[in-house]
Assembly symmetry: C2
Homo-oligomer: 514 residues x 2
């Protein structure tokens, strides 16, 4: 085989009017650059190892180095110029990016439904980032087509779909919920793919008032309309009320609309509640509705023998969204959409049969080409790092991590109950622990609108202080009738009861003078 690998370094001024000239310049300039790039990559790897893998996860460092947008703009050298720069400068940009980024793998980061990733998963991303597969076809991503299939099958097995099903990894739970909505309407009205919704009656779906906001976004994006998402009240523990669902279905039918789907949530975003899937499945069966379970956050409980009861009935769902990048720490984004159908519905619904990718005269079994199930064209190999981590740790260790997170949430809950000035919003079902901190100055004020008005201002102020101190990151929000409260999210197997104690100590330290 011939063909030297050469780096082009013809000067910018070259007009390129003769390739022999270009080629000469190329050959002349080629040898100098490679060792330089090589050494840059080496140094960058060392930097990542030192500053992220080893250091950023330590409790002794800060969770974040807060700077205002204006200050950070001055600190970072953002401008893109005509000329390049020395590798040392580029390395400094990497160092800065790490320094001023939130340390998502810090043991005091409890701000989102994910934390910085497992080291095995991280290596998995490095491998796919370096090799750049794209999952349109088996030809282009043989390893990853096989691995995606194995992971999806394992997840379906845990859902309890004994006869399997189909699925696809995609960029996030919001996308998964869109897939569900599109499949549900296509299954009911196949003509919608060609004719569009203008050929259909008014379609209506149902979800609880606790669901993720992506359900509304999806309805808007898919042309269904946010008003056609009928919001079903939840009980005080955050679970959709099946009787209220039935009421809403009857309302929609009486209006002449066509109900087509129910979105149940397994692990709501704020409260971490689980809708009663079994009962909702009964309602869906009776009314012939597609049942989608948004288990992006709560799906991980399926790995735990102790906690999988939270998703009881999930095997009756038509589709499930489950993000291993959340509780299982498989790294952004690792998000599976799973569907019970085995007749190729996913492909029929989304296919466009592009002739340049999905040739019919290939020399291998084209059922291995998964790309036409997707609404994307290029698609990253997101299943790989989850698979690699799973291989390394085994199912039992994943189970243990889930159990550990839930135990830490219980420990924190008990701590909140015991301490003066902390008030629990509700008993958590999962690892979302929601609570108010009441500063000493307010503890004598009786429950009243004035009291809650004062409480409303506490969490934002403490949040500002924790960001500026860099000691802790916990989210807050108002929610329904509840004034601003903290929402702790526990995920990492690295956190201990000491970290739970720290959270309460630190919130008190930051807010005691308010």
């Amino acid at each position: 085989m011939q063909g030297l690998k050469e780096k082009t370094t013809m000067p910018a001024s070259t007009e390129g009017n003769g390739w022999s000239h270009v080629d000469t310049v190329q050959l002349n300039g080629s040898k100098e650059d490679l060792p330089e790039t090589d050494s840059f990559v080496q140094q960058a790897m060392t930097l990542i190892m030192d500053e992220v893998v080893r250091k950023a996860g330590h409790a002794s460092g800060k969770v974040c180095e807060w700077r205002s947008p204006e200050d950070l703009t001055k600190l970072l050298d953002l401008e893109l110029g005509e000329a390049g720069e020395a590798p040392a400068q580029t390395l400094q940009h990497c160092r800065d990016a790490i320094h001023y980024s939130v340390k998502t793998n810090h043991p005091h980061f409890f701000n989102q439904l994910y934390v910085g990733l497992d080291h095995y998963a991280m290596v998995g991303s490095f491998v796919t980032d370096a090799t750049q597969p794209s999952l349109y076809t088996y030809e282009m991503a043989p390893v990853h087509c096989l691995i995606e299939k194995v992971v999806l099958e394992k997840m379906m097995d845990m859902i309890g779909w004994v006869e399997g099903g189909d699925g696809i990894f995609n960029p996030g739970g919001s996308m998964s919920n869109m897939y569900a909505m599109n499949l549900a309407r296509f299954q009911r009205f196949p003509e919608v793919k060609e004719q569009g919704l203008s050929a259909c009656p008014r379609l209506v779906l149902f979800t609880s008032d606790q669901c993720h906001y992506s359900v509304a976004k999806a309805a808007a994006f898919l042309g269904i309309g946010t008003k056609n998402v009928y919001v079903v009240p939840a009980d005080e523990s955050g679970k959709m009320i099946p009787k209220e669902l039935e009421k809403q279905i009857r309302t929609a039918i009486s209006e002449g609309a066509v109900p087509f789907m129910v979105n149940a949530t397994a692990g709501t975003t704020v409260l971490g509640s689980f809708d009663p899937i079994e009962e909702l499945a009964d309602v869906c069966e009776e009314h012939n509705l597609w049942l989608h379970v948004d288990a992006c956050w709560g799906g991980a409980a399926l790995l735990s023998n102790k906690h999988k009861h939270l998703l009881k009935g999930v095997h009756r769902a038509h589709s499930v969204a489950w993000n291993p990048h959340k509780m299982l720490m498989a790294g952004q984004q690792c998000s599976a959409f799973l569907v019970r159908d085995k007749t190729g519905l996913l492909q029929r619904c989304h296919s466009a049969s592009a002739s340049y990718l999905f040739q019919k005269d290939k020399f291998y079994d084209i059922s291995r080409d998964t790309g036409d199930k997707s609404v994307q064209c290029g698609r990253k190999a997101d299943a790989f790092r989850f698979w690699l981590m799973w291989k390394a740790l085994g199912t039992r260790e994943l189970e243990r991590r889930v159990d550990h997170a839930l135990e830490m949430a219980r420990y924190l809950t008990e701590g909140i109950k015991k301490r003066d000035g902390f008030r629990l919003l509700m008993e958590p079902e999962y690892t979302n622990v929601c609570f108010w901190y009441i500063p000493p100055s307010m503890r004598k004020i009786p429950d009243s609108p004035e009291f809650w008005q004062k409480v409303e201002a506490v969490a934002p102020k403490i949040k500002e202080r924790m960001m500026k101190t860099g000691s802790l990151m916990v989210g807050y929000q108002s929610h329904g009738i509840n004034a601003n409260f903290f929402r702790m999210i526990i995920i990492s197997p690295m956190v201990s009861t000491k970290d739970m104690d720290f959270v309460l100590d630190e919130i008190h330290r930051l807010g005691a003078d308010l």
Copy 2:
């Protein structure tokens, strides 16, 4: 600050009925694992350095190690089990994944509209993968909110939007085209967000018969319907014919439908053709239609003073899709959707104002929170690696790379013209070089249906042989009336005229006996 970072290693059998017990186990078990993980990460980095960064890009190795799905399933140890495994085994999985993956950075990989990434961009992905930012809020991704803005502004500057605009990075060009379609209809019928399409007249959009298949996918997904994508004929060089567009618009209006958008393509997928944007903009202005330019592939030409004329008139577009992960090698996925509007249309169209992320009582300027412009919730920091690469190389080097790729395409084209048995499909405008190889046995047969029927079978056969040999990867397809032909895509600055010669030599070597 207290809180030891500890790794949980309580045994699987622990029932976890008391946290003090759990905590003890944790503290006992914590110290052993960290050095092991650390060493695993180190070894994996060395592996990536050796097998991908240094080796996989060399022409002396294979482009791919083809195995049938059945054989590869046997070769890889895919199953996910209860127990974990030793780091050495996990490392072996990484080695296998690299070995059996397509070497997208090999100088003889010409199969897709992307190649393996630039080393600076690769380091950029490692940084974001290790730190795991997610771009909902400035609080969660301060560095990346600023960097995304700078990169988008620079791209808008190159498009020629002197007053700027708005935009968002998202997972792929197909998504960008969906964003365009959703914005276009929202701008025309704002009520569609709440009411859905059932409250709208039949909406119609226009695109050429050469456009990317994602336009049809997007129309299906967004509830518009594939039949409401009116396909405008292209001329023989693959460019949309403005007069035909006008004809289609009149047809749609006469049917009572409402035209709302034209999708122009700058760099079509197969032929690499550029629609005449200036003329299409005139038509759009006359009919008050949203002009979207799908420049996912061809946008890179804007970096070249020599070739930016290909996109003449692009500044008149309402929105542009441009993927730096294609010609500019910024790594999957790096895909920008850009919109000329400066009134917040993108946010109004997609916002859902989730209270747990987009609190109104934050202590910083919440216009920095970009998450509610997106249909995703979690969003990766895809702009960073493009920015890092741009910093390292400078605009001039990016320009030089684009110019180099186009020169190589011209060199290859001349080679095809000169050689016996090679037939050019058309003069390329960009780096897609489309051609037939005619084996010696067929060279005497006159042009006829029988001849082309024979030609149809040649490319698939040669493709099979090149995959099995691992010497080269070039795509093929039939297209319109044209029988199967090869489509060469030239991107990498590493390829030289020698590689171009090799392609033709190798295709001849593989196909001469057919």
